[in-house]
Amino acid sequence: MTSEALTSTEYIRHHLQNLTCGMQEGHIHCAHDAAEAKAMGFWAINVDTLGMSLLLGLCFLFLFRSVAKKAATGVPAGAQNFVEWAIEFIDNSVRGSFTGRSALVAPLALTIFFWIFLMNLMDLIPVDYVPQLAGAMGLGHFKVVPSTDPNATIGMAIGVFFLVIFYSIKIKGLGGFIGELTLQPFGKFGLPANIFLEVVNLIAKPVSLALRLFGNMYAGEMIFILIALLPFYLQWTLSLPWAIFHILIVTLQAFIFMTLTIVYLDMAHQEHH
């Protein structure tokens, strides 16, 4: 526990609070508690989520770009081995699920997988380290795992959603896309039912993407926080197995997000009859 003065409820609440900052009365202000953060409304920013996302995304891009810049056809070594393995893995996944041809889908899948993987991986940092460090730097809250913030997962899901709509319209035309929404599965006489079913079907894609990732990571983080409530000499008995199990979840969730994105984009590329 961070301090003897904190109750368990306060401790958990503290760990689940983002560093939310926004403009208030002309100057930048960071919320001290959940109520204050809520009062800031929509035009506030979770600095920790965006900061960590940016940092991890840049780590990923830096590693891959540094390899790409000196990519040689000779015998690969070191980081090039890893990057080439990763690229081949993603390429195989895309080839397996995506039947069309697109220059976007494979890099998209690569970005999604490694970015989310790195974000999820932050979950394995012991829960108190980063908040303590942030506290020492004068920041009241700091959630180190961006994927436990629904803003991050919904943000990415919205990106995928836009791509789905964009490709649906690009491949089938605006009329084709609207026809797909309205004329099936019941034909033109079941139009209201069609619209209802298809819109739900369409909306369910980003919602399920966002909430699946968020739910898994949030629950995992929650359990780490609960384990951290135990006396320190007992924590390892639970946190070690959970961390090991979490390595699987971290990878699996990144993989699921990537695969579903590929599948959704594949569906957007296919004509329904």
Binding site: A44, P107, T111, I158
Partner: protein, 156 residues
């Protein structure tokens, strides 16, 4: 856990990362992978070709070796034949030479015998003449009876 502008920021960041990855990460690595794949395929094909070439060369070398062996055997047999021919020729020549020498010797001997006989005859006629002269003493003039005597010698 409020929904706020973080969401927009995350979407924008996501788009930028994907764009960067699509522009500057994926194509060069994919190109390198493709190029290496091609290089390896070329290398394998070249190795295959080299192996084929080597097999061909070995076959040709074996052919040439066999040809050379055949030729050598031919030359040797030719030489043997020639040698025996030469020996035969030499033998024939020697025989001819020997018979020539023999003939010459025979004819010489004959001549010698003839000469000896001639001599003997002249000497016998001389002796006979001398004996007859002695017997006849003065009666016979050597000059007067020379043609007679010569006829006698020829008869002997």
């Amino acid at each position: 856990m409020n929904i706020n502008a973080t969401l927009l920021g995350q979407t924008i960041m996501f788009a930028m990362f994907v764009w960067f990855c699509m522009k500057f990460v994926w194509p060069p690595i994919m190109a390198a992978l493709e190029a290496r794949k091609k290089q390896i395929a070329d290398g394998l094909a070249a190795a295959e070709r080299g192996k084929l070439d080597m097999e061909l060369a070995a076959k040709r070398a074996a052919d040439i070796l066999r040809e050379a062996k055949d030729k050598a055997a031919e030359i040797i047999s030719h030489g043997d034949k020639r040698a025996s021919e030469i020996i035969e020729e030499a033998k024939a020549k020697a025989e001819v030479e020997a018979s020539n020498i023999l003939e010459r010797a025979n004819s010489e001997i004959e001549q010698e015998v003839f000469r000896a006989k001639e001599q003997l005859r002249t000497q016998v006629s001389a002796i006979a003449l001398a004996g007859a002269g002695k017997i006849l003493s003065r009666e016979i003039d050597a000059k007067a009876h020379n043609d007679l005597l010569e006829k006698l010698v020829a008869e002997i």
